[in-house]
Every structure is written in C-alpha cells, then in structure tokens.
C-alpha cells in the first residue's frame, strides 16, 4: 500500500528539492530501488511484477507504451508525456546532487587516511625505544639477585639454629620447670610440658646428655604421678579435681583399668558413708521404736477405725517413726542417688566419652570401663534398694498414703536420671519393681485395715445393741448422733451409719490408693500401674476382696452362733442381713462403678463380675435372715417347750387365765415384728386375712374343731381321727418349718411363728393331759390365734398348726371334755 501511495504521490507531486520530507521520500525510493525497505530488508512485492509499473523492476516500456496508447486519449497522452518529462528532469537533478555530495565525502576520506599514515610512523619509533629500556632493566635485576643469594641462605640457617637452640633450652630447662610446676602443683602444665618433650627425649636417649635429662624427667614425673595418685586416693578432693587427676594420669600412661578401679573404689568409699547413714537411720527407728513400738503396732489396727481416733494417734506416730519415709527417701535421693549420678557422669566423661587419641584408642577402654561401671552401679543400687525396701516395709500405718506415694515418686523419679545416664542399666526397672511391690503391699495393708475397721464397727454396733438401757455412752457408733433423746440409736439409724461408715472408709481408701495412679506421679504410666494395679490390685485385691470378706464374715456369724447357742444378738443378724441385701441391690455395683471410673480400669484379665458378687451378697443376706428366723424362732420355742415340759398337765386346775408364757410369746412376736419392720418391707399377705381374728377363729373352733375331735371320743371309731386328719393333710400343703424366708417382714414372721408352733405341737405330743390340761391348751391356742394371725402371710397356716396342737392334746388326753367355745373367748378377752 505504501508503494501505491508513493506512486500516486509521484504522479501527483512535482519534485521539490527544498522540502525535507521530499528528500526523505527520495531516499526511501532509492532504498526501494536497491531492494531495501526501511528496516533494511529486501521485500518482494507482488504488484511489482506488473510490467506497467514504471517504478517496478519488471517494467516493460513497450507494454507500458502500448497500454497507454490503447487506453489514453491524446490529451491524456500529452499530459502524460509532459509529466514524464518533468519527472525525468527532476530525477536527473537529484542524481547530480547525489553524485556531487558523494564525491566530496570521498575526498575528505582520502585526506583522513593520509593523515593517519603519518601518525603511525611516529608511534613505531617510540615503541622501539621502550623495548630497549626494558631490556636494560632486566639485566640490572638479574645482577642484583645474584649478589644477594649468599646472605639469604645464611639467614635461613641461622633461624633454624635459633629454633633448635630454643628447643634444646626447653629440654635442658625441663627438669627445673617440672620441679617448679610440681612445687606449684600445676600438674597439668607439667604433664603437657613433659608430653611435648617425651618423644624427643625418647628419640635421642642414646646421647648421654639427653639421657640425663630424660632420667631426671622420669624421676620428676614419677614423683608427680605419685603425687597425683596420692591426691586421687585422698578422699578430700572434689569430683572435678578427681577427674582432672584421672585425666592427667591417663596422659601419663597409667593403665586405664587400674584407674577405673581406683576411681570406683574411691567413689565406693563415699557411697559407703551415704549408705551407712541411711542404714543408721533405719536401725535408728527400731531402736527408738522399742519404746513406742507397741503403740505403733497397735496403731494400724485402731488407727483407721474411727476418724476421731486417727487424729489423736497421728501426732503419736511421727515421733516414734523417727524420720518419716519421705525424709528418708529424700535423703537417699539427695545423698546417694545424686552423687551416684555425679560419679557416673564424671566416670563416663573420663573413661568412656573422651575422644580417643593415639595408642589409647586401641586399648578399647570404653567397653571395659562401661562393664566396670555397670557392675559397680548394680551392686551399689542393690544395697540401696534393700535399704529402701526395708524402710518401706516399716511403713505399716495406713494413715497417710500420700506421704508414701510422694516418697515412692521421688524415689522413682530420681532413678530416671540413672536410666538416662546409663541406658542399659537394670537399676530403674528394679526400682520400678520396688515401687510395684510397695504398692501391692499397701493394697494388702489397706484391705486388712478395712477388715479391722469393719470388725470394729460391728463391735460398736453390737455394743450399741447390747446396752440399750445405758444412757448415751461414747460407745455409740453414730458418735453423738443419738446422744440425748433416745438411749439407743434405732436399727435403721445404726444400719445407715454403719453402711455409711463402711462406704466412706472404702472411699477414702480408694482415694488414697488412687494417689498411686495420679498423673503427676512418674511411675503411674508404667504398664503395671495402668493395668494390673487397677484391675488385679485395686479392684480385685481391695474392693472385691473386701466385699467378699463382708459376705464371708456374715456367713460366719450364722455358723458360729448356731453352735454356741446364739452368741450373736438377733438384731445384729437382722441388721447384717439388711446390709448384705443393700449391697446386693445397689452398693456393690455402686462401689465397683466408682472404682472402675476412678481407676479407668481396662480389664485385660478376667475379673469378678458384679453379678457374682451380688449373688454372693444375696446368699449371705438370705443366710443371715434364715438364721435370724431360726434364732428368734428358737427363743420363742424354748419358752413354749419349757412351759409344756415343766407342767403337770394331768393334775392341773381348771383354766381361768391365759398362761403368762403365751402373753410373753405374743409380746415377743410383736416386738420382733416391730424390729423387722424397721428394716424390711411389709411383704404380701393372702388377701382374705383382713377379716377380724374373732370371726375366723369362731369358724375354726365351732365348725372344724368340733367335727374334728368329737368323733374320736366315741370308742367305736378309732379310725376316724386319723382319717380326718389325713384328709385334712391331703388338702393342705406340706409345711417346711425351717425353710428359707423371703426378704420381707411377713415372711420372716411367718417363719418364726411356724417354728414356734411346730415346737409347741411336738412338745404337746410328748405329754399326757388331764381334762383341764386340754382345756388350758384350748385357751392358750385360742389366745395365740387371736394375736398371731396378723403377722403371717397365710393365716390358714396358723389355723392348721393350732388345730393340730389342740387335736394332738385331745388325743393325749385321759379325759377329753373340751371347754365351751364361749367360755374360752371370755377368758381370752379378759386376759
């Protein structure tokens, strides 16, 4: 496009010489002609192929002329021709200008070249002069160095001699210097000096002068070594001094093994002192203990019993025990363990970790030294441990567990330092074992303390039960709860206070044991304390064992009391039975949940399930209650039996009253009813028992009783009695007299009444009655009927047994003429 514009401008414009833009166009056109565009690149234009383009390279004048001739009119041709002429003229002038310009430039260039030629010539001359000068300088320098060479060699030699002389001087002065060092006790300096000279002396020892020096040095060094050893042997020097000594001795080629031994034996002597100090403390405590030893022995037993007494015994404990365990362990840690650590550290620094140089490396000192160290530490630690264990065993009182735990923690923590210093040592693990043993022992102690506590609480309860008339003594378990108003704390109060005491005690024991697993205690993350301690130790060994112990001892109450004729008060049996039952229903699971929560027990080993414990507690409760029924039943039976056996029933007088013993029986039954009702629920009766006693009894006496033994007096039919009673028995259930009872009041009372009445029956069957004897039995039975029905679950039971009694009495009667029912009623109501 640009070319087109150029062409058009060429056509349209006249060649103006003056205008700069015109000039540039001319330049560009020239450039174009020579095939250069503005960027200096040859461009091939498509339209330039046109032969009619007057500026194009392929311009063909013939074609152009023909084209013009064919296309243009004459006028146009004329115009065209004039235009062409104009253009040619301007082009010619342009060309002339250019040629002229270029010519001038050429002339000036030729001038410049000529001038340059002249300048170069001058420069060549100067260069020649310079090279000549340089050659002269070189010559001079060589001359000077040649003259100086001799002197230089002499100086070098002189300086060598000087150093040698200095060395020699050092050597000659060495003995004196060493002596001086020795005097000043600057052993390190002496040794380093000697070390420097040693090789030389060794090398030139064949020369007599040097030999003399060497011998002198030897003597001095020998002396020095002697002094060092002396110092080493002396106890007074500090660990740092010692280590310096050892280092120097090592440098003096002293055998390392011997040094190790010496070092260790030296340390040993100091540890000996520490251990003896500890042991003295140990021995001390039994000595001072003998005075208060008995007190201390009894303390663990009585100590946990009541919260009040523990405060009084605690201050007593501290003076008798000498130093407490924390102090002991502290002392052990501070004196023994820390200096042991120090010794280990310096030993390691001296013999094991030091950089090995020269021939020392080949002797394999670290291995040997390490072995020695291990043996040394192990023996010492074993003694220390035995002392600690003895001390721990003395720790019998369970009053303050935190002290023990803190002591053990400190003990264990300090041993960790050893494990860091001596990675392969068995000492820390042994220490852990001691801690574990101590923990186990502690659990056992707690268990026995709990057991004693339980026994003592029971004794207190027993006293409270046995001395009801005493006015509010200090013996009461509730510790002043029931002081003023009522002489005795009632059974429920006793029960709650007892179970609270036990529970609180157990909780406090758990809390103290829990200290073993506290987060800030170092050994609490040992596997034993995470697993076995919690599950086997605390849960099984402490809690479960204690619960089992309660059940066990409860059962023992049943067994021992049976033979010795009821040495246990029945109320205690009742109370324990309720306690066991409460344990079964709630307390056991509560305690175990508490334990599991507190100790986050993960049971890897099988543990006693709650259900098994509950079953055991229930069994114990059942046994106790059965025993209670038996004991109470026997007490009443005994009264009835004596009353039947001691009376002459044949010759008795006509009954006017209910016998006193029957009233007593009813009274006792009522009081038992009250007693049981305090602890056990009512229980279920058969529905029809709400009728009044009177009506049931009248039915019983008028219908059944009359029918029953009226025929038996007629001589004709002896069979009828048996038949009737047999028929009766066919329809009534068999009565188990000493059968297990349920956990409610009615069942308990039913059991007691069954036992009593059955005894009554059996005793009646062994006697022979007169007429009034029978009547007395009738009156008594009616009286019992009136009052006993309300206590039992099924009053038919009472009816049946009383029926049997009256029936049997009638059988055993020589002159059976029963009393009028109305008379019986009058007598009973009156009495």
């Amino acid at each position: 496009r640009r070319n087109e514009i150029n062409v058009t401008t060429k056509y349209s414009t006249t060649p103006p010489d003056s205008d700069p833009s015109q000039r540039r166009r001319v330049h560009s056109m020239l450039k174009h002609y020579y095939g250069l565009n503005e960027e200096g690149k040859v461009t091939e234009q498509a339209e330039s192929l046109d032969p009619c383009d007057i500026n194009g390279p392929h311009f063909d004048p013939e074609v152009y002329l023909n084209k013009l001739r064919m296309e243009c009119s004459l006028g146009e041709l004329m115009d065209h021709e004039s235009c062409m002429v104009k253009q040619i003229r301007s082009l010619d002038s342009d060309m002339q200008t250019l040629v002229y310009e270029n010519y001038n430039k050429f002339i000036s260039a030729t001038d410049t070249i000529r001038k340059m030629k002249n300048d170069f010539k001058k420069m060549e001359d100067e260069m020649d002069c310079l090279s000549a000068n340089m050659a002269a300088i070189t010559e001079f320098s060589a001359h000077i160095s040649g003259t100086l060479q001799d002197q230089h060699a002499q100086i070098t030699k002189l300086s060598g001699v000087h150093t040698l002389l200095r060395k020699l001087q050092f050597l000659f002065e060495l003995p004196a210097r060493l002596n001086k060092c020795l005097e000043l006790q600057a052993y390190a300096q002496a040794v380093s000096a000697h070390r420097r000279a040693r090789c030389v002396l060794q090398q030139y020892s064949h020369m007599p002068s040097f030999r003399g020096i060497q011998d002198d040095c030897h003597v001095i060094m020998e002396q020095l070594a002697q002094q060092l050893r002396q110092k080493f042997r002396d106890g007074g020097s500090s660990a740092k001094d010692l280590s310096e000594c050892v280092e120097l001795l090592l440098q003096l080629d002293e055998p390392a093994e011997e040094l190790c031994d010496k070092f260790l034996s030296h340390a040993q002597s100091r540890f000996e002192a520490d251990l003896q100090g500890l042991e003295a403390e140990l021995k001390d405590s039994p000595v001072t203990d003998t005075g208060g030893g008995l007190v201390q022995k009894t303390n663990p037993g009585s100590n946990p019993v009541s919260p009040s007494s523990s405060s009084t015994t605690n201050p007593f404990l501290s003076p008798t025990a000498g130093t407490d365990i924390l102090e002991f362990i502290d002392r052990g840690c501070n004196e023994f363990v820390s200096s042991l650590c120090l010794v280990i550290a310096s030993y390691q620094e001296l013999f094991i970790n030091r950089p090995q140089e020269g021939e020392l490396a080949s002797k394999n000192i670290p291995e040997m030294a390490n072995g020695k160290l291990h043996v040394f530490v192990d023996t010492l630690a074993a003694r220390y441990f035995s002392l600690v264990e003895r001390r721990i065993q003395e720790e019998k009182g369970v009053s303050d567990n935190s002290l023990l735990v803190r002591a053990l923690d400190r003990f264990h923590r300090r041993l960790q330092a050893i494990s860091k210093l001596l990675p392969g040592s068995a000492v820390p693990s042994q220490g852990t074992e001691i801690v574990v043993r101590a923990a186990r022992e502690r659990i056992k102690q707690y268990l026995s303390a709990l057991q004693t506590f339980y026994h003592d609480s029971l004794t207190d309860v027993r006293q409270a039960l046995a001395a009801p008339r005493q006015s509010a003594g200090g013996a009461s378990v509730s510790g002043g709860g029931a002081t003023s108003k009522d002489a005795t704390p009632s059974l429920p109060e006793l029960l709650t206070s007892l179970s609270n005491f036990i529970l609180n005690q157990l909780k406090s024991v758990l809390a103290s044991v829990h200290l073993f697993t506290a987060k800030d205690i170092t050994f609490s993350n040992k596997p034993y304390f995470k697993g076995e301690f919690c599950s086997q130790g605390v849960r099984e060994g402490l809690v479960v064992s204690f619960i089992k112990f309660i059940c066990q001892s409860s059962r023992q109450y049943c067994e021992s009391a049976g033979d010795r004729g009821g040495s246990t008060p029945p109320a205690l049996l009742l109370l324990l039975s309720r306690l066991c039952l409460d344990y079964e229903t709630s307390t056991i699971s509560y305690i175990l949940t508490l334990t599991d929560e507190q100790f986050l027990v993960q049971h890897h080993t099988p543990v006693t399930p709650v259900t098994a414990l509950c079953a055991e507690a229930r069994e114990a409760a059942q046994k106790l209650l059965n025993h209670y029924v038996k004991v109470q039943g026997l007490i009443i039976s005994q009264m009835l039996r004596k009353s039947v056996e001691t009376r002459d029933w044949v010759n008795t007088i006509e009954p006017r009253n209910v016998r006193a013993v029957m009233k007593r029986v009813v009274e006792d039954t009522t009081s038992i009813d009250v007693q049981v009702g305090l602890l056990y629920e009512e229980g279920v009766r058969k529905a029809h028992s709400s009728d009044s006693s009177k009506r049931t009894f009248s039915v019983y006496s008028s219908s059944r009783q009359q029918i029953r033994y009226a025929p038996s007096y007629t001589p004709s039919a002896p069979m009828d009695t048996n038949l009737l009673s047999n028929i009766h028995k066919l329809f009534s259930e068999r009565i188990d007299i000493f059968s297990p009872v349920e956990f409610n009041k009615v069942s308990v009372l039913t059991g007691i009444i069954k036992i009593s009445l059955k005894t009554f029956l059996e005793c009646v069957r062994l006697r022979t009655f007169g007429r009034y004897g029978l009547q007395q039995i009738q009156v008594d039975c009616h009286y019992l009927q009136m009052y006993l029905w309300r206590f039992v679950s099924d009053e038919n039971l009472v009816h049946f047994l009383l029926d049997e009694i009256v029936g049997s009495a009638a059988h055993r009667c020589l002159d059976p003429s029963p009393m009028e029912q109305s008379v019986i009623e009058v007598i009973c109501e009156r009495g």
């Binding site: 044949v650 002896p718 069979m719 059968s739």
Partner: protein, 387 residues
C-alpha cells in the same frame, strides 16, 4: 432297673415305737408299738415278703399301756422289751418290762389272717424292770449281739444295768450310775456300743452326749453342746469303733469321733425340722437313715467317713477287666457324700426309722399317724456298693 415302689402299712392307732426283730435273720420282720390312751395298745408284727412285695401282719395285745419304746432281744426272737406309760392316781409313769410273744402267734396267724384283729393274743409278761425308785424310763437297750441276758434301762438321770435270770423271768440290777448336775437332768436317748467288748454306752441328755464305761459305771467322755438343741437319738457306727452319729432339735445330724470331741467330724443339715431318729446300716456303714418331724426320711451316703475306702473295689476290677471299662466308667468316679433319696410318703412326723435285721437293703419308717413305710435302697446304689 426300676426300684420297687414303697410298701405302706397303716395302723389304726398313733405310734412311735418301731424296732426290727434283731434275732430274726431270715424273715424281714418289724415290731411296732402303738400309742393310745383309750384303747388297748397293740404290738404289730410286720412280716415283709420281699419276693411278692406284700406285708403279713400279726397283732399282739399289750394291755399295760401306751408304748413309747420297743426293743427286741438279740438272742431270742420271741423276747422283747417295751417302755410303756402307766397312769395311776392321776400320775403318769413310764415303766419298762420284758415280754415274750406267745409261741403260737405265727402259725395261728397264717391260717386265718382275718381273725387276728378280732381275736388278738396277749403278750406274756416275763418280768418288770422295776423303776419305781428311779422314775420314768426313756428306753431299754439290749446288749448288742449278746446272749439276751443283759439290758440297760435309762430312767430319768439313772443308768441301770440289769441281769436277766431264769429265762428272763427275773431281773436284778447289777450296777447303776447316776448323772448328777444342776437342774433336772433326764436321759432322752442312749445306745449300747457294739465295740470294746460291749463295755461302753452312750447317752444323751439335753444338748450333751456322754460316754460311759459299764465296768466302772463312770463317765468316759462328754460332748457338751453336741447339738444346739436337745439331742434326740444316737447310733454307733457298726464298723468303726470310735464313730458315732447323733441327731437333734437343731435339724442337724452330726458325726463324732469320740476321741476328738471338740468338733464333729461332719455335719449334715438336710431336714427342715427336728431329727428324731438316726440309724447306720448294719453292714454298709456309709448308708445312713434319718427320720424327722418334717415328715421326711432321708437316706444319705456318707462315703468319706465310712469304713469302706473310696471305691477301691472298683479299681481292682478295672485292672483285671478292660472289657467292662465302658460299663464301669460310671463307677470310676468315687462316690461323694450325698443324699441318696428323700422319702416323702409320710404325712406326719416320723419318729422312728429302722433297718431290717435280715436284709441290709431294706428299711422301715414309722410316722405318728400310724403309717409304716417299707423302702429299699435304690438298686443302682446297691450294685455300686456291692460290685
């Protein structure tokens, strides 16, 4: 193999006294004494036909009074003693006497069993064991396996040793002992030991068991508080001379070694009321029978304290006989102390149990309502003991 059903026999009267006819070793025979204040009392002779499983009975009249205790002579099967209560002047006294059964009871009975109740024969009185000076007699004991010449009667707190002379028609006290102490002491039961040449006696009073030497008539041991309550009965182990079983009102049966009287060797508590009677089997002393006023009879197998060691016979068999090992697997496990069976045929208190003198696998029990039940040891157990 099924066990035979128990055989039950009913008496018209109430009864407490039962004994096996000790001298009779062929027939299975029990004697029962009735208790009735209104009618003439009887002694029922119960013959048990083991093969046909039937009972033959004969009745003898005992018109002296109601019978509290009965005991047969070990030498003469026609002779027996009873303790009976006699009422006179509104005073009741229990006396003892030696009787002879009329010789013709057996033959006459068999011919017409129906007549026996209508026309019962009467016992022939041989002699009284006169006790007017000593009070009521609790029981009369024959010398075990003796010649039927010596009996002991326990009257209140006296032990009386009688010599029977002139075919038992005359009884004289050869020696006596009296238990002294505070309170009214009264013997409730006693047993003549078959060991030590019949020189020892054991008695029970209240909760204590005492041993007596009959030669010196002095006490040789005393188990105070043997039972929590009254001791009701005793029996000696027939094969182990120092072993003795007792029972009482604490529902327990206890086994004692009289050389160590502080603790019982063993104690059973299976009954739910007083235990009135305890009897060792005469031949196999691991078998023990107890009767109680809970109307039950319990047969126990006390192997651990018996004279027969644990199943050693079984072991011997096994060594020789491998073929039967399959069968004997059951017998291999040693027998444990256990209750073999509880018999509940009674509906009233059982006051007496007794092994048969003739058949060691058979026993009788008597309840107050007059029901006599004859039972056998279960066959399985019997064969295990025998084989």
């Amino acid at each position: 193999m099924e066990d035979d059903a128990p055989v039950i026999y009913g008496l018209e009267f109430q009864a407490r006294a039962l004994t096996a006819q000790t001298a009779e070793t062929d027939a299975i025979r029990f004697l029962v004494g009735t208790q009735s204040l209104k009618f003439d009392n009887q002694i029922h002779i119960i013959d048990f036909d083991d093969e046909n499983n039937v009972i033959n009975k004969s009745v003898l009249l005992h018109d002296a009074g109601e019978i509290w205790h009965i005991s047969g002579s070990p030498a003469d099967k026609a002779v027996l003693t009873t303790c009976y209560s006699k009422t006179s002047e509104s005073r009741v006294l229990t006396c003892a006497a030696v009787w002879r059964m009329p010789p013709e009871w057996e033959s006459g009975n068999h011919e017409s069993p129906d007549d026996s109740s209508n026309n019962p024969q009467t016992l022939e009185l041989l002699c009284h064991l006169d006790n007017t000076a000593h009070g009521s007699v609790a029981c009369v004991l024959w010398e075990p396996m003796g010649d039927g010449k010596r009996v002991i009667s326990l009257a209140e707190n006296h032990v009386l040793l009688w010599d029977l002379q002139e075919s038992s028609t005359k009884a004289t006290i050869s020696s006596s002992a009296t238990l002294e102490g505070k309170g009214q002491l009264k013997f409730t039961a006693g047993k003549w030991s078959p060991h030590h040449n019949n020189t020892q006696l054991a008695t029970a009073n209240d909760t204590a068991i005492r041993g007596w030497d009959l030669r010196s008539m002095s006490q040789i041991y005393c188990i105070e508080n043997a039972h929590g309550q009254l001791v009701r009965d005793l029996d000696f182990n027939p094969n182990k001379q120092y072993y003795l079983a007792s029972c009482g009102d604490d529902c327990k049966v206890k086994f004692w070694d009289v050389r160590h009287i502080n603790e019982p060797v063993k104690c059973l508590e299976e009954h739910s009321h007083w235990v009135w009677s305890v009897r060792y089997n005469h031949s196999h002393d691991q078998l023990l029978l107890t009767g109680s006023s809970d109307s039950r009879v319990i047969l126990s197998n006390m192997v651990s304290i018996s004279s027969e060691p644990f199943g050693h016979l079984v072991d011997d068999d096994e060594l020789s006989d491998n073929e039967e090992s399959q069968q004997e697997d059951k017998g291999k496990e040693p027998l444990q102390d256990s209750i073999i069976a509880t018999y509940e045929e009674h509906e009233d208190s059982v006051y007496a149990v007794e092994w048969s003198a003739a058949d060691p696998w058979l026993f009788a029990s008597l309840s107050y309502d007059g029901r006599l039940v004859i039972n056998r040891v279960p066959r399985a157990l019997k064969y295990r003991i025998l084989l």
